[in-house]
Symmetry: C2
Subunit: 716 residues, 2 copies
């Protein structure tokens, strides 16, 4: 892409090019929506809002937004922000995140090391409870239900620069990830780090896949093993990488210092041993509430499962066995059914999941987020993987039996209008389905993520401008000309949705699952993933820039419980891919029993058993070796600690004079003082060299005696 | 036991009662054996020995020992020992074991907090290489091959007191374990801590076992599950307990500061980034050497396996199918065979294991020890468990087929002298074998550990005194009367063998394995273990006191890799006990296919699969919950760190004055100075209350407009 074209893209994407921007690191925007409130109520709420914000020491500027909203621009004076950042660093030190006190005293004002540090403190000033020193504005909760969102302004020039920089590179370096962290905080940066590592590692399955596709038979066992081993090594490597990055970004263990959600219902407050005010909710109650998730998972598994099975059956029947009228239209029926029902049921289940997660009463926002995303991940897995699993383990093996039965039943029910014919299950269906899902799925994801919302945003803009031309000049939006661009940008950003990094991580994990679970089906899967992920990293970056509000730069020390999901997928993969190879592969070496279907199914548990244990043994071996090698940053940390403490020891080591012998004076002293019997023992040979003589004497005497003894016996 | 009798035991066991003992914390004994050296050679070696010892600053006294040995009593002056202990504490701080520098400077002299701390420093002074400040005396290595051992003196009164104290108590407390640590160091104390925890936890399987024996059917599935869950919970609890104790005893992470073994062959030395001299041996070479263990394990498995199978077959045949002459004598043949061959083969394999471990070139003594004990543990497992596994999975199921075949073969080979008769495999054999092995095995272990060596020691003593009476007065042992008792005690201790804690831990782990692997066979197994372990703890204590030299009080932060062995046994147990229940139990609910032997074996993999996964899921759940609860000591550590750092923060928090509004002066300043456009934005509503008014105005205007709009449409 030549430079001129890229510039055009930048203008197209980012709007105003090259204009001077407000510094973004000390500002926040509160979107107050008064469309659903009565005038007096709105005025009262609004006044309270400004009061709360001002009471923290923040400055405000109010402008109008679109659609009966007010944009409250909040700014922190230099001293307030600098002091808040400083206190945050002290808190880090208190909780052991950093090793050294940052110096200074309670009134110190510091500059943020990077923009996100300042913005995070701004967020705290706006969002934290009054007891913690914030203004207490939590959007859409409690008395602020009319506050639609709070967000920082995008740093457009920095965004542009970084995107441009990333687009030119093939691989990201640690410094590039640092720059992402500087903009959007550690939590978002970890997603990009994970995506980058995953992308680099994907080269191996690509190479292996090309090799397998070319030279190995279909459904190859060796390829399944390679992918299984690759998944394990990748995960273990990522864990070390995560630790390294968390130490580099000084966020290791940061989960321990997060404040409580305002939605957290506690039973009592108490002051703990270290003087901190803790809010207490009984652990057993929390566990009891969390165990509600188990029936929920089973229920949704059932519901989604039944839906997918039914649609699946309809689809099979219509596409392969049906010969009656309207076949052409009916072929689309299942897809339509799924397209209608699945999102509806999916959303209902997600709402139930939200309510349940709320019920679980998590203390911190991190925990809440994680619990919710894990539930949604389970739902997504079912939706994504169940069709393929059905194809692999129900349709292809048993289709020959089931579909004619289905045909018979329908024939009896619906009469002669449904024809009959011989049915042979299509063994290639599995491969075609996997290819379709992974390839087209990736492309449609990309479109859905990027293209569709972009068009939507642009359309809305166009509609708004169209409306504005036709209607009377909206005096609410009479802006001072010098502010127009700034306000336009802020208003646009106010309409965007907040960014949720968990959705993107979820997408990557689902993709990883395809590779882990179904790798033997089509070895070229990884190539599509590789290409997609290179684009994905940059397109996600672009997406955050233009389709979402700037994310609150919260900190995290990794991608969290997704590691467990990845491990679970790898484990399931060892079972699933072994089963696929077993059922579908050509086993030239297995004779007799394996050739019959019955034999195949009988020996399947054994194959799964063996494959799973090979995987577990390999995983234990990888963990053992990598644990010894360990994390480079951790070793560096330990060495630093040693080195800085060593200077104390140096003066010890330089002392070389050790007393070789009892000083003459000391010896005499010991002998002359009246001593107890123990001490007498220790003075008999106190003189130098006496021990030596005594010992030599004893040796000689003993040897002589021995020779005498031998001599006597010899004579005998 | 009344007090007078216990006193008698004390006298009997410990010999001299109530005599004043030499303080033991600053003395070490080197046993120099010159029986295999020529006189001149011996004299030269001995002189070098004394020279090396004296060069460190230690004092010596030489006395004769039994059987052409010299006992070199080594003592450290107060200043030397105190300074060495101090430097050891500084080293702990350097390596991050303790959090605070111990204060003082390079010449500081401290008292050991407990006796073992002093003795450990004595050991370092005698044993460490010259570069590290020691005398370099490593028994039976290099130039000191004639030094048979080095050991500290037993603190007999402390031993007596503690044993008496332990015998009166049912359960040990943390303070009791502290006292053991004070005597013998952390590594040995961890064994007692593990034994104690294991003992306490055994109450649960005992209760469950009585219940199962009384009310549940034989080979009960529920009981197998209970034991499986118990094993998991016990292990996870012990891990937390280990961490707690390691923090309490300030040995956490102590593995990182151990010095290199003198036997460690390194390729080069270099100075690392922190200024420490490191000895380097390529990692890949080390891993390559260690991988030799795999064929070794397979080979020994084969060898021992064949031996056990052959003997087993002979035993079955003779005891149940043989009807020919000499049956009475031949019945003992297998036992005799095993008793002869097994120790021989076992010792050969152990020697091979020793050589291999030496070849593996471990850097520290801990690593070497661990590698060796794990190999020997594998050998012991095979020897202990294989017979039972054979009975359970070969003999009982297939005996009906195999033994008559065996009978036929032997009949053809040996002619008509061997009779034939119908054979029915004895299903109770499994239970009888397990009972025999666990009950009698425990009792014989006890006897072997305690009674036999004690009798041996006493016999040798009697023999020596008998010889002394008959022979000429041995002028070598002409002792000064005031020293007689001390020397006699020291000479006796010099003849004892060193204590290896790994043997005792191994015994407990093997016992645990019986419970984990074969619990459904006889539910009352745990009761025997419970009783045995209470006695074992105290008898092992006694054993160390009277049958072994005082152990070098090395430090460790747990029982080491035995945790992995225990986890492996628990895992195997989930498979093995499920298989036993499946094959032997009465399955009233399973009809048809399960009743046939073929059916049983076909469905066995499925049962194992299910059982194993239930176990793994449960283990993951336990780890997850306990991880949240975590180690109490770790939490205490974190709270302490927080509290001690909090005083810095207190002065921050006490600052309550925050600026509520822009100072008037500040406001005017901001407006008057020439500003850029950004700043102008922020001054429009700088006056107090202006933002409020502007916002209210906007709200009213918007609401009015809305009503106008609605009003117009209504009219329409």
């Amino acid at each position: 892409m030549g430079i001129p074209r890229l510039q055009k893209v930048r203008t197209f994407a980012f709007g105003v090019q090259g204009e001077k921007n407000l510094p973004c690191n000390d500002k926040y925007i509160i979107v107050y929506d008064f469309s659903e409130a009565e005038t007096d109520e709105a005025i009262k709420e609004f006044s309270t809002l400004l009061e709360d914000v001002k009471s923290v020491g923040l400055h405000t500027e109010v402008r109008a937004g679109y659609n009966q909203t007010l944009l409250v621009f909040v700014q922190a004076p230099r001293e307030l922000l600098g002091n808040t950042v400083y206190r945050s660093r002290v808190k880090d030190w208190l909780y052991g995140i950093t090793k050294q006190h940052p110096g200074g005293n309670r009134d110190t004002v510091v500059d943020g090391d990077f923009e996100a540090e300042d913005i995070l403190s701004m967020y705290h000033l706006v969002n934290w409870r009054k007891e913690l020193g914030g203004a207490g504005i939590t959007p859409e909760f409690g008395k602020w239900k009319n506050v639609k969102s709070i967000f920082p302004l995008h740093n457009i020039s920095a965004n542009e620069d970084l995107l441009y920089h990333l687009s030119k590179k093939l691989l990201l370096s640690a410094e590039d990830l640092d720059r992402i962290r500087d903009l959007w905080g550690a939590k978002v940066a970890f997603y990009f780090a994970f995506l980058q590592t995953y992308f680099v590692f994907l080269i191996i399955p690509c190479v292996a896949g090309i090799f397998a596709w070319q030279f190995l038979p279909q459904y190859s066992l060796s390829f399944a093993f390679i992918i299984g081993f690759w998944c394990t090594v990748f995960l273990e490597y990522w864990k070390i990488q995560e630790t390294d990055l968390s130490i580099r970004w000084k966020v290791r263990g940061v989960g321990g210092l997060k404040v409580n959600r305002p939605q957290f219902q506690y039973e009592k407050e108490f002051v703990d041993a270290a003087g901190r005010v803790q809010q207490f909710f009984p652990r057993w109650k929390q566990i009891a509430r969390q165990s509600v998730v188990i029936p929920f998972v089973l229920l949704s598994l059932l519901l989604l499962g039944i839906l997918i099975v039914v649609v699946f059956a309809i689809e099979i029947y219509i596409s392969e066995a049906y010969e009656g009228p309207y076949k052409f239209y009916l072929e689309y029926l299942p897809t339509v059914l799924l397209a209608i029902l699945l999102p509806y049921i999916g959303n209902t289940l997600e709402d139930i999941a939200s309510t349940m997660t709320e019920f679980e009463n998590h203390r911190t926002q991190d925990n809440y987020e994680m619990s919710l995303t894990q539930k949604i991940f389970v739902l997504n897995s079912i939706t994504n993987y169940l069709p393929i699993l059905l194809t692999a383990f129900v349709y292809v093996p048993f289709g020959d039996i089931l579909v004619p039965q289905l045909q018979n039943n329908l024939h009896k029910t619906f009469g002669a209008s449904i024809g009959k014919f011989d049915f042979k299950s299509d063994a290639d269906r599995l491969r075609n389905e996997v290819i379709a899902l992974t390839v087209t799925g990736q492309i449609s994801n990309l479109g859905e993520e990027l293209v569709f919302p972009y068009l939507k945003t642009r359309f809305r803009e166009w509609w708004r401008e169209h409306q504005a031309k036709n209607a009377d000049a909206d005096n609410l939006l009479e802006d001072d000309p010098s502010e127009t661009k700034t306000l336009k940008r802020a208003r646009k950003q106010a309409l965007l949705s907040p960014y949720n990094v968990q959705d993107d991580i979820s997408e990557m994990v689902i993709q990883f699952g395809y590779l882990a679970l179904f790798s033997p089906v089509w070895p070229l899967i990884p190539i599509g993933f590789l290409i997609n992920n290179w684009i994905e990293l940059r397109s996600d970056f672009l997406k955050i820039c233009i389709e979402h509000q700037r994310p609150t730069p919260v900190r995290g020390d990794g991608i969290g419980p997704w590691i467990t999901s990845l491990e679970a997928l790898t484990w399931l993969g060892s079972v699933s891919s072994a089963a696929i190879v077993h059922l579908f592969g050509q086993h030239h070496y297995a004779m007799g029993i394996m050739q019959t279907t019955m034999g195949k199914w009988c020996s399947l548990p054994l194959t799964i058993f063996v494959s799973e244990h090979i995987f577990l043994a390999f995983r234990a071996a990888v963990r053992f070796s990598l644990q010894k090698i360990g994390s480079r940053q951790i070793r560096k940390e330990r060495n630093e600690r040693y080195a800085e403490r060593k200077k104390y020891l140096d003066e010890l080591e330089s002392s070389t004079t050790k007393s070789g012998h009892l000083d003459v004076v000391e010896r005499e002293r010991r002998k002359s003082v009246r001593m107890t019997s123990e001490d007498v023992f220790w003075t008999r040979q106190a003189e130098e060299g006496v021990s030596n003589e005594v010992g030599i004497g004893l040796i000689r005497a003993a040897k002589q005696k021995e020779e005498q003894g031998r001599g006597i016996t010899k004579v005998d």
